[in-house]
């Protein structure tokens, strides 16, 4: 599959397809279904310094062509992620991108410092875009100057390249991208979920216990494609694109928009075999369309 290998800062990927953070846990469940070494990389579930239970249930609600979630960064905390989850993942030949989250700058810095030392962590994904926690998360992802400062601080301590995950809940996505680029980011991952809500007609109240949640799935794909299209023309940073991808054609669309690799989110919940199916399907597509290497497609929609 030499037409699919991609080199990005810190990451030497055998193919450009990886599960998105929060949609794959730490891989254990999926390892019963296929060999995790087949994946380009794995973006593990967001890790915070302390364990978090997350929000009350209901935490998910279905929407037209999509879903809302408000999990609330549930995770076992830095110590257990390193000691149990990352240790367990070492048996697979796959680079790990560790999603780092927190409530304040110090939390991010502490998690980034420790988790970036782990052998199989090849890059960090700075989560400044989670819409489902009261402090931190998206608060860092909507003000360019704040995002820049946080990126800078994390870059100072991280031993691996830092990708910043952008929120679509901003009026100027290019401004955000340029801010984190100024802060020293090595790459961008985009997009996180769009803030949304559903109201139960029987109770008259929001369906989710958290009231609002992050919208994902095919419904958000046009927003993501548009943002990748805009950002890729204005920054020099590599982009891992995501948002509603569920078919090979979707992956091609993200490449044409300007992505360097792609991540699969919600589709993993609908079809847990989706990543391996897409990797095989993408290779066939490239062969059929006489594409020598997938990177040739990057940004063709605006070049």
């Amino acid at each position: 599959m030499s037409r699919m290998n991609i080199d990005l800062p810190g990451l030497s990927l055998k193919n450009p397809v990886m599960p998105a953070s929060g949609c794959f846990g730490f891989g254990r469940e999926f390892s019963q279904l296929f060999d995790l070494s087949e994946l380009g990389a794995i973006m593990i579930k967001a890790t915070t310094e302390e364990p978090r239970y997350g929000n009350a249930t209901p935490r998910v609600a279905e929407t037209p062509a999509g879903m809302l979630n408000a999990i609330g960064l549930q995770n076992p905390g830095l110590e257990k992620v390193i000691g149990n989850e990352l240790e367990w993942l070492k048996q697979f030949d796959v680079p790990i991108i560790a999603n780092v989250a927190g409530s304040q700058t110090e939390d991010y810095v502490q998690v980034a410092k420790e988790i970036s030392k782990v052998e199989n962590v090849h890059a960090l994904e700075l989560n400044i875009s989670c819409p489902n926690v009261k402090t931190g998360g998206i608060a860092f992802g909507t003000i360019p100057e704040t995002a820049k400062e946080l990126t800078k601080k994390v870059k100072e301590v991280s031993e691996v390249p830092v990708y910043v995950k952008l929120s679509p809940n901003v009026s100027d996505i290019v401004g955000m991208a340029k801010a984190v680029e100024d802060g020293g980011a090595d790459g961008i991952t985009m997009i996180n979920t769009l803030l949304g809500m559903r109201i139960d007609l029987k109770t008259g109240r929001p369906v989710l216990a958290n009231r609002t949640g992050g919208l994902s799935g095919p419904a958000v794909k046009p927003v993501a494609v548009r943002m990748v299209y805009e950002v890729s023309q204005k920054t020099n940073l590599p982009i891992i694109g995501m948002g509603g991808i569920s078919t090979v054609e979707d992956i091609i669309e993200f490449y044409l928009a300007g992505a360097d690799a792609v991540a699969i989110g919600t589709a993993n919940f609908v079809n847990p075999f989706i990543c391996t199916e897409l990797i095989a399907g993408l290779d066939q597509y490239l062969e059929k369309h006489n594409v020598d290497h997938i990177s040739e497609l990057k940004g063709l929609s605006w070049k």
Binding site: R28, E29, F30, G54, R59, N69, F269, V270, F273
Partner: protein, 259 residues
């Protein structure tokens, strides 16, 4: 082993108001080793409804490679499912979760099976297996009313069966717990499935020294990856411990989960 398969609808009928019984055929049935596990279905290939629907397994027939499920058509997904006809395909992921441990009941013992509404179906395959093992079963089935009741005769063929309806239109008026108390039902073990509020009441009955309950919850992935269906264990000193209903359950030891 979890599989994904386009299974074929063999039969489908409405057996009570909005309650459908569907039989599906395919090799995935070979993996169904335990009652109480569930399947996760995608009703159609369209993007709406997007997510799968978790549905319990009511009967397994390995020799025919068929299984039967009973579900209530109440939302977008289950309504699409309800329109399927014999010969149609359904995208099935499963079997998922941990089921009822039949091995916990010994030959010659008595098991009390308590089900409420759409929690009744998985108890049917459980009862068949217990009876095949020589465990005597007593069934207490609760429904909203007569129109919503199903499988009472099938259960009666397997053992002593009591029915309770909220409005008294079938069987005894009241809740399943009233029936257990009124008849002084006792057993060596209990198994229960139904709404959480019912399970909570069942756990407090003390009709058997130990038992197992099966929980219902809105699910995302069904395999333990999305953290949509978490619950707190009873023993949780830090407040950060959790159990995932889809993959740690849906069957838990009575008392294990904070209901």
């Amino acid at each position: 082993m979890i599989q994904k398969e386009l299974m074929t609808v063999v039969a489908q009928s409405e057996i009570a108001k909005n309650i459908f019984e569907m039989t599906l055929k395919g090799t995935l049935v070979d993996q169904m080793d335990e009652p109480g596990k569930f399947v996760h279905l995608k009703a159609g290939e369209e993007v709406t409804p997007l997510l799968r629907r978790p549905i319990s397994i009511a009967r397994i027939e390995p020799e025919k490679q068929e299984f039967t499920m009973i579900y209530r058509a109440e939302g977008a997904g289950t309504n699409v499912l309800a329109r399927k006809r014999p010969g149609d395909k359904v995208n099935v992921l499963g079997p998922l979760g941990h089921g009822f441990p039949v091995g916990e009941a010994q030959t010659g013992q008595t098991a009390l099976l308590i089900g409420g509404g759409i929690g009744v179906p998985p108890l049917y395959e459980l009862s068949r297996r217990l009876n095949a093992k020589g465990v005597k079963t007593i069934h207490v089935l609760g429904f909203q009313n007569q129109a919503a009741a199903f499988y009472t005769e099938q259960f009666a063929l397997l053992g002593e069966t009591y029915v309770a309806t909220v409005d008294g239109s079938l069987g005894e008026q009241g809740f399943v717990t009233d029936v257990v108390n009124n008849h002084g039902l006792k057993a060596d073990i209990f198994y229960s499935c139904g709404p959480t509020v019912m399970l909570k009441a069942v756990e407090q009955l003390h009709a058997a020294p130990h038992g197992f309950i099966s929980l219902e919850e809105r699910m995302g992935c069904g395999i333990g990856a999305c953290f949509a269906c978490v619950c707190h264990p009873s023993a949780d000193e830090t407040g950060t411990s959790y159990l995932k209903i889809c993959s740690d359950g849906p069957v838990f030891k009575a008392g294990e989960v904070a209901l």
